[in-house]
């Protein structure tokens, strides 16, 4: 971290999302998978948005994802110094989520759509947020 991130907004969990944030504090991206659909979904809630079933189980995801879309913000936000990347990432398991990209130059030249990403966790107070970094080239 090269900047004071203390001002960054901290999410507040609800009873329905507690397990997601507990997982993040352990360094795991955990989502619910629906029994009947066999599909994980995001964001967490007690019933599957695809079929309405309550037969859902928490499960750790691989943390691997691809870059679906992004913007490079040139506007200051609390705790953020522009330019910084707001990304839409598609998890290998299917769901999409919004996040930041870290450990990458915030420039279009460095950001190819569909590039492989891996989850990291950024601490804010006693909360950890999933962020994503490009997968290191295998040497």
């Amino acid at each position: 971290m090269t900047e004071a991130t203390a001002e960054r907004m901290v999410p507040r969990e609800t009873p329905e999302t507690r397990e997601f944030w507990a997982g993040a504090r352990r360094g795991e991206l955990v989502l619910q998978r629906c029994g009947p659909c066999q599909r994980p979904y995001f964001f967490p809630r007690p019933t599957c948005p695809n079929c309405g079933s309550s037969d859902v189980r928490w499960e750790p995801m691989s943390g691997r994802a691809q870059l679906c879309s992004y913007i490079i913000s040139h506007r200051p936000a609390p705790g953020y110094t522009p330019p910084y990347v707001i990304a839409l990432v598609t998890l290998d398991e299917g769901p999409r989520m919004l996040s930041n990209l870290v450990d990458v130059d915030p420039s279009p030249e460095a950001l190819a759509l569909d590039m492989p990403l891996q989850v990291r966790f950024e601490w804010r107070g006693d909360t950890a947020l999933p962020v994503f970094a490009p997968v290191e080239e295998v040497r």
């Binding site: 960054r8 995001f42 964001f43 913007i71 913000s73 919004l98």
Partner: protein, 380 residues
């Protein structure tokens, strides 16, 4: 509802738009209401239904002295007013209301008497989007655009052309805030706000308002002013989080709301002479053109770049200059309806020839909600 059985009898915007620090948001509603009532020769005593978003309709009714027996506080972002027209039409057709006043007023720039918005850190958006440095629409509504451009083969120059085309219109509109004609180079050289979006590809932030009086077509015929008829309408929603669109390159709300409107009107895209579509950012009209079915997927960028939406083009679009050049108070949908009414009445500043059917497409939130109206200058 029979196509053409309901009419917009009165329509007006605030006398001024832009920077109005001497008026609070509710007074912008009131001024708009006075204008729309005067436009159709009615008074507050004639109004039995009220609808608004932002400032609640009960506040507006009390402020201007209306005693409503039908109230719609549907507040789903910038397309709320299109939904109000649709709901008013249903209520009038069902005999639940006779004359509905729909108002909009927002002190978007001066923030006088303007409700503040801050995301709740426990909401879905507050937990899963806002913490990532989102500063509001410029860093949220824009997120899916690169994917759209990638999948549909839209170039940065074509995206810029949306802003260029609309400035061609606004250069003919004295009330428009931005009237100087611009080139693609001007757009691409303007400051980056959120790559790939430059300043000239982002909407204005202004103060202003507008209002409509909706009643039965048979009754509108007896009123002064020129009624505009509702042929069809639609409403739909997708996700309150832009990241949760099922497909980042297509907005279900646009598809579903427009399909309803066409079905009700018994018309299709080829029957439309004029299009007003929400343009908070330059990519939104491209989604709308494809999702409503005016062009096929992959054709919107070229369609705009080839001048089809410009003066003299096949499908005049956003003929007031849109949110990019005319005005954008925050909830722009009312202004899209107002321009469609002017074009159908033949009173627009940049009046186009042979406009009989106008399609108005609104969006609320960041690809969250949608409303569609099909309006005409005569009953079918």
């Amino acid at each position: 509802m029979q196509p053409g059985s309901i009419a917009i009898a009165g329509a007006a915007e605030t006398e001024e738009l832009g920077r109005l620090p001497d008026r609070s948001a509710i007074e912008l509603h009131a001024e708009s209401a006075r204008g729309a009532l005067a436009d159709c020769g009615l008074t507050t005593a004639d109004i039995d239904g009220v609808a608004s978003a932002g400032v609640p309709p009960i506040d507006v009714a009390h402020y201007i002295g209306v005693r409503p027996t039908w109230i719609d506080s549907t507040s789903v972002g910038g397309c709320s007013f299109l939904l109000h027209v649709r709901h008013a039409a249903a209520a009038i057709a069902a005999g639940m209301a006779r004359t509905v006043l729909i108002t909009h007023g927002e002190s978007g720039r001066s923030r006088v008497g303007q409700p503040r918005y801050a995301p709740d850190p426990q909401s879905a958006r507050g937990q899963f989007e806002a913490p990532y440095g989102l500063t509001g629409p410029p860093t949220a509504f824009t997120v899916p655009a690169l994917r759209f451009m990638h999948e549909r083969g839209v170039s940065h120059e074509q995206l810029a052309m949306v802003a260029v085309a609309q400035r061609e219109w606004s250069s003919r509109v004295p009330r428009a805030k931005m009237r100087e004609r611009i080139t693609v180079a001007d757009v691409l050289e303007s400051p980056l706000v959120a790559y790939p979006f430059h300043l000239l590809e982002c909407c204005l932030v202004t103060d202003g308002g507008g209002a409509l009086v909706v009643t039965a077509a048979d009754r509108a015929a007896d009123l002064p002013g020129r009624p505009v008829y509702l042929l069809g309408s639609g409403e739909a929603s997708e996700a309150p989080l832009v990241s949760q669109m099922a497909d980042p390159t297509s907005f279900r709300g646009f598809r579903d709301a427009s399909a309803s409107a066409f079905e009700q009107a018994r018309l299709g895209p080829d029957d439309v002479d004029h299009l007003m579509t929400y343009d908070a950012f330059a990519h939104v009209p491209l989604y709308a053109l494809e999702d409503i079915g005016f062009v096929k997927p992959g054709e919107a960028g070229g369609f705009v770049a080839d001048g089809n939406t410009m003066p003299g083009g096949r499908l005049p679009m956003n003929t007031n200059g849109g949110g990019l050049s005319y005005t954008h108070t925050g909830m722009y949908g009312m202004f899209a309806i107002q321009e469609a009414v002017r074009q159908l009445r033949g009173t627009a500043a940049a009046q186009t020839d042979d406009v009989n059917v106008s399609f108005v497409q609104g969006v609320g939130g960041m690809f969250m909600s949608a409303g569609s109206l099909i309006l005409a200058n005569r009953r079918p």
